[in-house]
């Protein structure tokens, strides 16, 4: 019968491949699936395109993945956060590409990718340097730019509770991009602090229905990025 739970973060990311596009949940540290990212560092896939609002901080989580040289391209709205030191180093020596996307456009492109909408129009970025290369169109007297849906080979996200069907609920502002990335990932992998049997979540409050999720791993006490950074940790 259907059971999407896998035994470990390592098993969950075992088939990630070189050159994959990977969406990583989180806004700053809130919702960052640190244990899955660390498993991905151990796993070794290279030349990744990573999609995240930021670029991580310190030398753990996403920043550690970048430091390890595994990410060749970042799709991102705000790569300049407090304690973000690894991305700038690689960026300044030309070792990582940056696709800068306005935050709301990034969210909508991911949702569109997951929803089978190949492209949409938005007013965001009009008349700015980020309009460059985009098609412009006037609709009902106002100008808009064309943006394309974004999908990924993998999405790795963090939930609060998941069931073995893959239904997920989140914790406060750790929700952010994760439900969208779950829709847009061909393989979506969730780490949750608690994994329960089907029926353990109220069907009215599920944020990500299980159809969007392929694998669930229980990480009972996920680390907080800021705690690790404050402790001077680095991974591996």
């Amino acid at each position: 019968m259907i059971n999407k739970q896998v035994a470990s973060a390592a098993e969950a990311v075992a088939d990630l491949f070189d050159g994959a596009t990977i969406m990583i949940g989180g806004f700053g540290e809130a919702g960052s699936p640190i244990e899955l990212i660390h498993a991905l560092i151990d796993q070794g896939a290279r030349n990744l395109t990573a999609v995240n609002n930021n670029t991580g901080s310190g030398e753990v989580g996403l920043a550690a993945l970048i430091k390890a040289g595994r990410v060749s391209r970042m799709i991102c709205s705000y790569p300049r956060t407090a304690n973000s030191t690894e991305f700038p180093k690689l960026y300044h020596r030309g070792a990582i590409q940056l696709d800068l996307v306005p935050q709301g456009t990034l969210a909508e492109r991911i949702r569109a990718g997951g929803a089978g909408i190949p492209a949409f129009y938005t007013p965001t970025s009009l008349d700015t340097p980020l309009e460059k290369g985009k098609e412009r169109r006037t609709i009902n007297g106002r100008d808009y730019v064309l943006e394309y849906g974004l999908t990924a080979d993998f999405a790795i996200i963090k939930g609060r509770v998941a069931d073995t069907y893959g239904n997920v609920v989140y914790n406060m502002t750790a929700r952010n991009f994760s439900p969208l990335m779950a829709m847009a990932g061909k393989i979506t992998i969730v780490q949750a602090a608690e994994v329960v049997a089907p029926g353990g979540l109220d069907p009215e409050v599920i944020v990500t229905p299980g159809i969007f999720v392929n694998r669930v791993v229980e990480i009972t006490h996920p680390a907080h990025e800021s705690t690790l950074v404050a402790a001077g940790e680095s991974y591996p």
Binding site: M1, A115, Y165, M183, P203, E204, I211
Partner: protein, 228 residues
């Protein structure tokens, strides 16, 4: 013209049971209104399917016991249903994101006509006095990974439903993968209709006579279904 019907043809329930055998374990399935709804009664032993209804429920269960239903827990056919443990409710945009985004494995639909290249007509006969109504059919055929049609092989008047070209307005072009009728299981291939299996007691010529386009005979027997 029902007297022309081969005696060995499958009943509606047998058609539904036969189709259910081809659904892989763990599949997310949307069932259209009518004969497709019967498929839910026949889950093969050892398999589990999760039913999606486009009005906002994943994990649809069977009809409620009499007197226990809720008019706000219904399926796309507006009949009262139940929700299984592990179900989820969501709004229409999320529901059709599942459909359009290619997240559903299979949709089973009825048909007015299917053409040999997989065109489907199932929403309108084009009659000028009829009120057109489409619902989610065009979204389903555009988005779901596999589209299986389940239908009587011919209309009540004995006209073939499997045709060279649909004469009724289309639901989608080249969208049908396989057809389950009372007479046969038929695959849409680049070369047109191919018989995968004849119903018990039915022979190839009987099916060909009742089909509006050439049929290729069976090549290999179909294997155990696997998720693609």
């Amino acid at each position: 013209m029902s007297e022309q019907k081969p005696t060995g043809g499958r009943t509606r329930e047998e058609m539904a049971r036969r189709l259910a055998q081809d659904i892989p374990d763990g599949a997310y399935v949307n069932l259209g209104i009518g004969i497709p709804e019967l498929v839910a009664k026949f889950v093969p032993v050892g398999r589990e399917f999760i039913y999606h209804t486009e009005n906002g429920l994943l994990g649809m269960g069977p009809s409620p016991e009499p007197g226990t239903g809720d008019p706000e827990l219904i399926n796309a056919g507006k009949r009262q249903v139940t929700a299984i443990p592990g179900a989820a409710f969501f709004h229409h945009a999320d529901s059709f994101a599942m459909i359009r985004g290619g997240h559903l494995d299979l949709c089973v639909l009825g048909a007015l006509q299917v053409s040999q290249n997989g065109d489907l007509a199932n929403w309108s006969t084009g009659a000028t006095d009829a009120i057109p109504a489409v619902g989610g059919a065009m979204d389903l055929v555009a988005g779901v990974k596999s589209i299986y049609v389940i239908t009587q092989h011919c209309t009540r008047n004995g006209e073939p439903k499997l045709v060279e070209l649909c004469t009724f307005p289309l639901t989608g072009r080249g969208v049908v993968h396989r057809i389950y009728t009372d007479l046969a299981v038929i695959q849409i291939t680049p070369a047109g209709f191919q018989v995968l299996e004849l119903s018990p007691g039915v022979d190839f010529n009987q099916v060909q006579e009742r089909t509006g386009a050439p049929l290729s005979p069976m090549a290999d027997p179909p294997g155990v279904p696997k998720m693609t």
